[in-house]
Symmetry: C2
């Protein structure tokens, strides 16, 4: 038996479409070392697996092998976490049926585990962040898309094929924009960072006096947040709309999963302080009475939720 | 230890706004006897508890007390199943903080358990109906409102305060009809039996040649189904719309809970054969690829899902 606190330290790897990141994480969830590289999209899985090996080596330099419990990998779906196989990564070519766990275990001579990125970040916040000690909470990441993970009754909610929690593809307005998935009105199509940027560009084109107009085609969600902080009226209006759209989806999540807390992460959460009043107002007004008081907070681990969550697969398995 | 199969027989009680029903159920889920009464809405909780006692006596006449494991009660929420207290029944006055389990245990000298009606029906279908043997399934009741219950990872999904699964109050169209809960565009406000009847009356008033126009203000969902069976064009159109609205919500449930199966019960399910092609088409077209094949079927226990589920609280507790 290992001492309380789990398997010593672990490396969390976050495999994304643009970046591969790794972090050495101790038993208390602290990040001790980090490294990152631009994902080798051209080289395919073989090249990326070498990048991961390299990042693991960088973050564990000088660490006694006996301290290291293993490597947890967070990756975009669809994947089979139990079999340790990535079934496909839409934004990276060649990633079809890649047995990443078996490959890395062989290359690293360490235990390796694999998890969906939204679920990994939820686990990070659950084990070491804003959801610590809770039995029921939902993590929402608002970024290029909308994803997340659900903790219910003290466990990760899995469902058939471990596919529960595809929260971004909940239809919230069937008359609205068509999503990348082909359906009109998915939450993701309306309220992701990408959607906010797109809507901002449309509106800025109609409002030449706004700061936002100056950005032209380069305008994105980040600049909307920055301009709102500087007091730009259109940017503030856009965030008010964003908060309302996030609120609609979050109220649905309250009714469907009954969490004690909703944690918002991802790029858009960098404007969370500006979005929070609108979201809270929506929850207070729109949720059924027993759900009205549910707090909605920003991810505590920030950009590390997924890395720490991936490491948690080793640190606190099960 | 009792033998495999549970606690002998049990009585399931379904406390509703218009009817109180009871059924004696054996260890295999078979209904052996049934009784019902019009809910005494004027007499308040005291009168209804006497009705329940009477119905339990009727259904267990001649049964050896040693065979009877107890009484399970299904009631509309909000309620506290663990404490055995009904917090309020919107359609019945005087039902505030009624400790129904303690009262009935004292009156009947039998173990009594309490469950939310949507969850009880889900448990009935899970233990003895269409969901038998599954780890992940969602039960949807489409009736006066829309309710249901969720089985996930082999257990009833509970959430904070056992309030998960308020599926009827998922916003699916924020521009649409305002729900009884005060919010626009809840699934229930658009696709319940009540909503179907209401929309049918509006459309029938504009279509004097339809069979439906003859019903006037008495037109409801039942008659829409009957007229569709008789080939009425407007009625068929209304059911096509209903199937589409049910489909939107069901696809959301697939993405959120990832069930192996969706089971539809409640009054509207009497027209399920007419609704099914439209629902299945919607699922095949709108669900994300890994969810597309999920079957949607009618409740196998029909009007008994809730009664059998309530009895299951005793027959197969936990």
């Amino acid at each position: 038996m290992k001492p309380m606190g789990g398997n010593g330290w672990a490396v969390g790897v976050d495999l994304g479409g643009t970046q591969v990141r790794a972090a050495l994480v101790d038993a208390s969830g602290q990040v001790l070392a980090r490294a990152a590289a631009r994902t080798d999209a051209v080289g395919g899985p073989g090249a990326v697996l070498q990048q991961i090996q390299q990042l693991v080596a960088e973050t564990t330099q000088g660490i006694a092998p006996s301290v290291l419990g293993g490597v947890g990998v967070s990756a975009p779906g669809p994947l089979d976490g139990e079999a340790g196989v990535i079934l496909g990564i839409p934004t990276l070519s060649g990633w079809v049926n890649v047995p990443i766990v078996a490959w890395l275990q062989e290359a690293l001579a360490l235990p390796v585990r694999l998890e969906n990125d939204g679920v990994a970040a939820a686990i990070g916040e659950w084990r070491f962040g804003a959801g610590r000690g809770l039995s029921d909470f939902v993590y929402v990441t608002v970024s290029t898309g909308i994803g997340g993970g659900v903790i219910a009754d003290g466990r990760v909610l899995r469902g058939r094929g471990r596919l529960a929690g595809h929260i971004g593809h909940m239809t919230i307005d069937p008359q609205a924009e068509v999503c990348s998935c082909g359906n009109p009105g998915c939450w993701e199509a309306l309220a992701s960072g990408t959607a906010l940027g797109q809507y901002a560009r449309q509106q800025a084109a109609l409002a030449p006096t706004s700061h936002l107009a100056a950005f032209g085609a380069a305008l994105d969600a980040k600049q909307v947040v920055a301009s709102a902080r500087a007091g730009d009226a259109l940017a503030l209006e856009l965030l008010e709309r964003e908060a309302r759209l996030l609120g609609i989806g979050i109220v649905n999540l309250l009714h469907l999963y009954s969490p004690e807390l909703v944690v918002v992460g991802g790029g858009v959460s960098q404007g969370f302080d500006l979005l929070h009043p609108g979201i809270a107002q929506h929850v207070a007004r729109r949720a059924l009475p027993p759900f009205r008081g549910t707090p909605v907070v920003a991810a505590q681990l920030g950009q590390n939720s997924g890395l720490v969550g991936a490491a948690s697969l080793i640190l606190l398995p099960g």
